[in-house]
Every structure is written in C-alpha cells, then in structure tokens.
Amino acid sequence: MRSTAALKQQSGKRRIKYTTLLLFVLVIMVIIMTPEITPQDANKLIIGNRLLGPSSEHLLGTDHLGRDLLSRMIAGVRTTVGTSLLILSISMVIGVTLGLLTGFLGGLYDRMFKRIVDAFMTLPDYIFAIVLSGLLGPGFLNLLFAVIAVKWVGYARLVRSTVLQEKEKDYIKLAELAGVPALRIVKKHLLPRVMGNVFVLAALDLGKIILIIASLSYLGLGPQPPTAEWGSMLNEGRVYFNTAPHLMLAPGIAIMITVLIANICGDRLRDKLDVRMKKGA
C-alpha cells in the first residue's frame, strides 16, 4: 500500500503535468489566433500615450512609443515561439533527411557527412549563432538561417547513429534481400524507428531555441522594428527600467514561463517516448 505522502506527490506531479500541457496548448492557440485576440494594433504608435501604466484601456500599460504592451506581448508569442517552432521543424526536416540518407547509404557519403557534423558539433550553439547572425546582419531570415545552421546537426547525428544500428538488424537485411527499394526501406522501416528519439530531442530543444532567438533579438540581431519580439522588447525596455519596469518585466516573465513550459513538456515527452528511460525505471 502506498503512503499518503507518495499519493500526494503523485497527485502534485499530475497537477503540474496537466497545467503545463494546458499552458502549452494555450501558447499554440495564441500563435494560431494572434490577429483575432490582439486587443489593439501591436504596431500602432501613439506618441502621446507613451509609458502609461496599466489601465482598462491598456491592461499592461504602453511602451516607450505609446503602443499597447499587451497587444505586443501577444504578437510576440507568434514571433518568438512561432519562429522557434518553425526553426525546430526545418532543423528536424533537414537533420532527419540527411541523417537517414547518409546513415543508410554509408560509404564515402557517410564519412564526409560525419566530418561535417563533427566540425559543427565542436562549435558551441550560442556563440556560433551569434557570430553567424553578426556576419549575416540583423533580420528575421538571417536569424532563421543562423539558428537552423546550428540546430540541424543534432538531429542528423542522432538519426544517423540510430540508422547505423538499425540497418545491421535482420529485418532490414531481409528487406534488402527481398528486393525492397532503398527509399521504401527508409520510409517504411527506418523513419518510424527514429522519429521517437527525434521528437524527444525536439521537445527538449524548444526551450533552448526560444532562448537563442530571444538572446539574438536582445542583441538587435533578430526581427527589426516595429516587429514585436520578446527579446527585442526586453532590450527596448532596458532603458526605462527605473521609470517603467513593466516594459522589461512583461517580456522577461513571458520568456521564463514559456521556456519552463517547453522544458517540462519536453521532460514529459521524454518519459513517455524514451524506451531506455522506461527500461531503467
């Protein structure tokens, strides 16, 4: 019989699980419905309304250019989290495709690919993304490119190593002997096999990507004005920290909570999908 403390702990864990899941769904809904739920035009500038405190008209107050802060925070969800999800998806597509192909084909392709991946892996994510963004210059597309350039490698490496293990197994060898085309083997047998691990890695990566995007935007390397982005909003609010701290607090807290949600969701997904974890448990 389980103790009361254990039951309470389990119920607490469940509560956290459902709350985070709910918040994650909420974030996704905000991304989809941004234009519908934004109370005012996020870029509408009324200079006479600058630095107003919270009121019924502006629930979070206004920023240094008289724009509604709540509207900018909502618009920022799409830019910050939406961009992160986009980067994650593109990185996954590139990484999985290259990992599958090179792992399955082997030979010279695989050796060349391994060298390239090793070269990328020696560079720290953040520093490489900052250097790349700095070289490319500020802007949304450059930011996208810089973060994808550092993120696809992890997926490619993971997929390749899984494929190398799998292709030595009997069911793949039998499929090859039976004359099943390579593309079909990859699609039918290998892809479903690797996707579990890929989703776990992606879930754990989301928080990191959000932080990279916010950091680069904070440095002025992300989307340019007037686009609302949490990192750049944090930077803009820095100047007014003494007089209008809400300009920094709002995006700061939003980044913190979103990264927390992403990380908790990632952990839960790992617990669900990671076979090794389950075996060890």
């Binding site: 870029n43 006479g48 240094h64 250019l65 340019q224 100047v239 920290f241 003494n242 007089t243």
Partner: protein, 510 residues
Amino acid sequence: MIRFVKKTSLLPLLALLVLVACSTQEKATPNATTPTESKHITLLFNVQSNTIDPHTDTNYTAVRAGIAETLVKIDNDLKLQPAIAESWTSEDGQHWTFKIRDDLTFHNGESVDAAAVQDSLEHAQKQNPSVKNALHIRELKSDGQQLTITTDQPFPELPSYLVHPNTAIIAEASTSQAPIGTGPFLLTSFSPGSELNVARYAHYWGGAVKLDTATMVFNEDANARHLAIQASSAHIIFRPPIESMEQLSADSSITLDSLTSLRTHQLLYNMNNSDLQKEEVRRAFDALIDRNSITSSMMSGQATAAAGPFLAEAPFSPAYTKKTFDPEAARQSFQAAGYELENGMISSAGKPLAFTLLTYQSRAELPLIAQLLQANASELGIQLDIRQVDNIDEYLAINDDWDMALYSMITAPRGDASYFLNAAYTPEGALNYGGYQEPELTSIITKLNRTIVEEDRYALAKEAVSYIDEHYLNSFIIHPNNVVVISKQVKNWVTSKSEYYFLTKDLDIE
C-alpha cells in the same frame, strides 16, 4: 517545520539572484575608487571612443579629456580665445601669422615651438583628409615661436577652423594610442571603447590644475549612466535618460544642467536613390516628421524643434519655411512626384515604396524617431526598413546600401555656418554622405569661403541655408538640449556649448 525550512531556504537563493542581477550594473559603471588623499573625478560619456588619436578621432576624446589642445579655443559665447597660439594676425585673410606661447611644453617635457606645431598640423592633414580639405593650407612655415600659414585663397575663417579638435597639437613622439599633448592632463591609460585615465600635468602653461586624476568612462547605456550618478560611482554624467529628469531634478545632491545645444538631429537622404532625388519625395518625408511630438513627448521638452540646420536665432539663419506634420501634404507631394495614390496608399507602378533607414544607439532618441517616422510612413503604405548600425560615420562613409539615415552633429560649433556647409554639401565635403552635387549651392559656399566681411558672410550663409531649406536637401528634426548631471561635490564645471571641453584645469572636487 521541514516545509518551512525548505520554503525559507529559498529566500537566500532569491537574495543571491537579486545580487547577481545587480552585479552587471556594477560592472557597467566606472571603477571610481577615489583615493581619499587625492582629488579624482569620474565622468561618464555616452559615445564610445575606439581611438584617442586627436587627428582622426571623431569623438574628440583627447581634447575633451584635456590631454591635447588646439591653437585656438572657443568659449561659451562662441568667441575665439587664444590657446596654444597667443595671438594671430592676417592682413589679407590668406597669409596668417600665429604667435606660439613661449612657456609651453608637451607632456614629455619638450618645449613647443612653431616647428613642432607645423609638424603636428602636417601630420593632422596627412592622417585626416577632412582636415586637409577644411583648412585649405598651401604652405606652412615656422621661425622660432612664429608660425606662418598661407592658404590656397583668402580664408578669413581659418582661426575658427583651427578650433576643431582634429587640429590639436601633439608631439612628434605621440602614437595613435598615446598622444602627447599640452593640456592640463596627461594620459595614463586608455582602453578603447571603455575608459581613459588622466593625471594632472604639473607644468601646464595655464596655471595650477586642481584635480589630481580623472577617469572618463564611455557608456552608451543611459540607464547605467543614471544609476552611476545615483550610486555616486560617477561625478558627472552626460545625457541621462529623459524619463529620469524629474527624479534627478528632485535629488539635492546633484545639479542638472540643460542647455540648448548647437547640435541638430537630421534626416539625410541618399541622392543615389532615384526616388529621393525628387524634391517632392524629400518634401513628403519632411511632412511626415512630427517634430512637436518628438520635442514634447519623446524628449520631454529637452529639445527645440528644428526648421533648419542652425538654431533660428543664429545670425546666419534665414527665415526658415514653416515645417508642420501633415500626412495629407505628404500624400500630395508623393502624387506630385508622379506616384500613384490608391485608397490613400502610395505606390510606384503598383508596388509599394520601400526605403532603408539607418539609425544608431548612442543617441537613444534616434531609434525612437526612426520608429515614429516608420509608423507615419506606413500610414501612407510606404515601407521603411530600420537598420541599426554601430558606427554611423564609418558606415555612411563606406557603404551606399542605405536610403535615409538619422544623423546628429554639431552644426555650428564655432559660431560660424561655413564648417557645416562645406563639410555637408560640397562635393568633396567630409560629411557629404548623401552625395549632394548642387552646383548652385557649391558656388554660394565657395563665395562664402572667400568673403571676409562678417555681414556679407552672414548674407551668403543665409542664402546657402535657404537653398538647402527650399530644396529639402536634408530634413532637420530637433536641436536636443545638452543635458549634464553633476554631483554637488564637483566645483567649477562648465557645460561646454561646443561640446569640445570637459576636463579643464579649474575643475575641482570637494
């Protein structure tokens, strides 16, 4: 109980987090470890300087820090005063004789004679083409303490040009990172982009220097500067955040100095852009600048709306055309320039107009002005892509991939219009970033350069400025106030109108 302990154990952690969060601020402020036995001042300036070579430094750090001096100085009434040169004369405005002080020595102990001054001026001209273009010197001759300068043509404004910090006199043994000047302070250390330290020069020609040492720190973050003066880790700060003015005014331990400056924030147009070559387009953008909102809201009254490059009361300012924020007038101007108007939106051959607008961070209001202009332009369907650059002068000088740029400069540092007109509008002008080629304007400026009588010079300057004004060659936005916050411990601080002199021999601390 255990739960209580667990909960309370978070408190030190939170306190630690707060302390860690605050620690960066401490790093951003100067290390003003004031030795109790010596008189030391820490000054925070808003623009970073990566070089201290007075001949090339666009921030004039060596002169501002009292390390190097020029032949002639300018006071706050914009009158010329002797400095390294005791006196100067010319009968025809072309042949000039400057008498160098007898009792003058460089910081390395070498005495300063006319030959040393000649070497320094030749070095300045060699190092900096804009100095060469501005001075128009044909020949330099030295004889003892007497320096003779012959210009290409009569150049009555030569002494006022020699006020410019890029003409500062330094010893031949100087290096770009260690200039040896004649000022009240000698350089002890310089960290590019970070700070410089100076110490009193015991043999200063101007008399006893009151301070022992001083530190000038560069910090572009207005908030950090504000916190530094509040935390007493700086004694003088330049340009605090506008929003903090009220709070600073209420602080009895500091003095707030706010002077109308000789600086003008302006919008430059790149004449290589075919759209911006059209006067109507420039006129339209001018009508999209909401000067009143900028001065009253954005600058909290710490600025004056600018109608032209110089303050309206300057003797060489013409009666400027009235500048009002009028999107409808802008719309009409775009139409007059041949663009289509559909549903109130401007387009060119069915495509929206798009421009790149440059701005920079060290003047905090410029990125905000850029966004205000961007918002006003978007109401007309015009897209402005804002790009922020680190060093605007360097960027504008090298690149041509911009259409408009927000820029700020002291337009009449020596109480004369010719410096700005020559630098910004003549084809060879060092600040002609827009690539202006206006033969009519150039001829007026050339005539101005050759005119000696003051009244005639004013008339010609007015004519030139009127031309700029009528053709909307630039849009002049505001004259920001020069705001300096000074600790009450500091004595004898004078806010320099020209922004050339910060650390002086009379500056003192209690």
